[in-house]
Amino acid sequence: MTGQVFAGLKVADFSWVGAGPQIARELAFYGATVVRIECHRWPETTRTAGPFKDGITGINRSAFTAAYNVNKYGISLDLNMSKGQEIAKKLVQWADIVSDSMSVGAMAKWGLDYESCKKIKPEIIYFSTTQMGQHGPYNKVKGYGFIGVSYAGYSHLNGWPDRDPLPLFNNYSDFISPYYLITALVAALIRKRKTGKGMYLDQSQVEVGVSFLAPSILDYMVNGRIACRMGNRDPYVAPHGIFPCSGTDCWVAIAITNDEEWQNFCSVIGNPDWTKDSRFSTMLGRKGNEDELEERIGEWTQNYTADQAMTMLQEAGVPAGVIQKAEGLFNDPQLKHREHFRFLEHKEIGVHAYQSPAYRLSKTPCSITKAAPCLGEDNEYVYKEILGLSDDEVADLLIEGVITTDTDIPEVLCGK
């Protein structure tokens, strides 16, 4: 992939599950060669959790895994075997970057922590991303994404003031952490070009979550205020809500931030008498009477589809948007224009969607060309072409079970 930003850059990707693999994926979008190391004996959670193609289980049928490993090469290797560790060290020798998102201590157990890798290759750039970071009293907390959104304070801020808090199905902090890491990682790569020196980056995903709540944190630090759930309300703006539209479970979001937008809104809905009520003519009045106001607005929105309501209001300069469902994202004209979803043929899943970066580079666009690998799909290429092992050496590793195969998948996972 010459001509791309990261052409020639090599990554040994030992990370797994959600947050970690997205980091090297970004580099792979722009031309880096990324080798993802996995093992059939303990397939990662995303391979066993699904969603699976047609709902049929199988470690190579999960779009969860595919999503974060597109454009990468995939190999199978048992790091619990000493020969597996030797091969892994060859990959470290080959790589510019080592990627780790294992529980604290796992990489050290295999002799693959930063200090060990530095001895193999002093200029290596090595990052670890875990829920709590490498140190501190909670560093051994289990690495599931719900930990991040619970400990960072997100769930407490999700829902309604009169109800219990709600979970964040999307484990949000897993999806902001990678981008913090990438910015620092690219800076570390440039430092290495200039100084020849490698370095270590130790990320706490919970700290990333806290950083994205910074205004509320400062509000507590300075004003002692503990942020609470507000449903769809906003402390400063009214109307500010989500209103019913025609169709099943269809909604439109509307936020009117000043008098001009309010006047425009009133024109769109035909200036009915209630809009002339002086209680609604100022922001303070609207905020003070928002229950009634929002009920009135809902009476108007329910006559239209969410798309119609959004279009009418946006054409008049009023902030409004459909509550997009997953299905709607695939039909969204703006996301289509941006080519957000790209379709590639995966060996077992068939043609399916991959997401592209949120930014477009005018001169060096991303290139999404290789569907995510099945477990061990690129063994042949990586072991022979990249690491230079002979046919006999690879055969021996297979026989010894160092390179794992489908027969090594635990029975409990095969049977499903």
Partner: protein, 422 residues
């Protein structure tokens, strides 16, 4: 200044023209040591009016939102719409490395400061444009606020109670996501520039940034044609050929709530988690009916809703009698898949962040106060984190930059001030 030398982006300059839509981008580049110059309209950036405020005093020099998103930056005032203002900006671009802007698409181009023009002045320049939907396309000129943006990116439908409209998170995320992805794209472009000398434009869509944060919501549709919807305190698992399985994950406890997975099946960690939890309850004479429950036999594809609810109800009764701290300390020790739902107060008081040295004390001399900020979530011993300075006052660095750096005389600055340029 040994510390400064170690900063990864020391010596690189960012011209930051953004309002609330893009401010985090420059802040993140400043976190890595870049010299970020915030260019404000003469009366100050309108985002200075964004709450919350210091001591709840609404004032453009007291916005806590602004303090955080403009940490590290210096400020000059400049009216880009005047001919002098435009000329000064072009001079600054000559020696800058990044321009970050979040105007409506076409605004910069409308007075000759679009990427095509800036590239002629400095072919190395990277221009990062952060907007709700990107520079082109059917929604490029749509107006957004946080709730509208996250809704259109799919992040509202996945949260909510079953008997109410879906809801947004009660903490704005839309523009933070845009700023974060803006910083990412800027750095990818920066790497290319360092290798080749070629700059480019980075065109960010906050909407796409939201979609990328949905975990497997799009993938569930792609595989199973099911649009995930928020379902109260439950996860709603799609089951092929059957009704979804509701698993309670949020539980009220004595002083708040916890997240908890009550599960089993094939994954060893889940079986041992459920066993440890039941043991803890049994020791106090609770959930005794689950004493020898065969957690390893649970199959999410076939377990009945009644059976799962029986399990979670028994656990819920025990959880109610304990505090967040009691539950989470046992969870930590025994590997139970439980986490406290923290408030901002809990976060601030947590020993973990303090042990990592996360918090940063920042002096605000004009307020006579030191404020503790969230620091940087990545530790790098070879390039330690450093707060360069607190967020600037309006035009605080006019003299430093216009006089000392660009060589304007006091008389010239007077003229520029008088005609509304600075």
């Amino acid at each position: 200044m040994a510390e400064e030398k170690n900063s990864l982006l020391a010596g690189y300059r960012v011209l930051d023209l953004t309002d609330e839509k893009g401010q985090l981008c420059g802040k993140l580049l400043g976190d890595l040591g870049a010299d970020v110059i915030k260019i404000e309209p003469p009366r100050g950036d309108p985002a200075r009016n964004t709450g919350p405020f210091y001591k709840d005093i609404p004032h453009p020099e007291k916005s806590l939102f602004w303090f955080y998103t403009n940490l590290h930056k210096r400020s000059i005032t400049l009216n880009l719409e005047t001919s002098d203002g435009k000329g000064i900006f072009q001079r600054l671009v000559k020696s800058a490395d990044f321009v970050v802007e979040s105007f409506e698409p076409g605004y910069m181009e409308s007075f000759g400061l679009g990427y095509a023009e800036l590239e002629k002045i400095n072919p190395r320049i990277i221009v990062t444009s952060i907007t709700p939907f990107g520079q082109t396309g059917p929604y490029a000129h749509y107006k957004t606020t946080d709730i509208v943006g996250v809704a259109m990116g799919g992040m509202v439908y996945i949260y909510g109670e079953m008997d109410r409209p879906p809801n947004r998170l009660s903490c704005p995320q839309f523009y933070f996501l845009g700023g974060l992805h803006g910083a990412t794209g800027s750095m990818v472009a920066h790497y290319h520039r360092e290798l080749t000398g070629e700059g480019q434009q980075v065109d960010v869509s906050c909407q796409q940034a939201v979609v990328l944060s949905l975990m497997i919501v799009a993938e569930i549709w792609d595989m199973l044609k099911y649009s995930y919807r928020g379902m109260g305190p439950f996860y709603a698992g799609a089951r092929p050929g059957g009704s979804p399985l509701f698993s309670q994950v949020i539980y009220p406890c004595k002083d708040g709530h916890v997240f908890l997975l009550v599960t089993g099946a094939s994954q060893a960690g889940m079986v041992s988690s459920s066993r440890a939890l039941v043991e803890m309850a049994n020791r106090e004479g609770m959930a005794l009916e689950l004493k020898d429950y065969p957690w390893q036999t649970i199959d999410a594809a076939t377990i009945s809703q009644e059976e799962l609810t029986r399990l979670t109800d028994a656990i819920a009764g025990f959880i109610k009698t304990k505090t967040k701290a009691e539950l989470s300390s046992v969870a930590l020790e025994k590997g139970i898949l439980l986490a406290p739902l923290t408030t901002v107060k809990d976060v601030v008081e947590s020993p973990q962040f303090t042990a990592r040295g996360f918090w940063q004390e920042v002096e605000h001399p004009e307020l006579g106060a030191t404020i503790t900020y969230p620091g940087y979530p990545i530790k790098m011993n070879e390039a330690p984190y450093r707060v360069q300075r607190r967020a600037p006052l309006i035009g605080e660095h006019n003299e430093e930059i216009y006089e000392k750096e660009l060589g304007f005389s006091k008389e010239q600055l007077g003229i520029l001030k008088n005609c509304g340029v600075i």
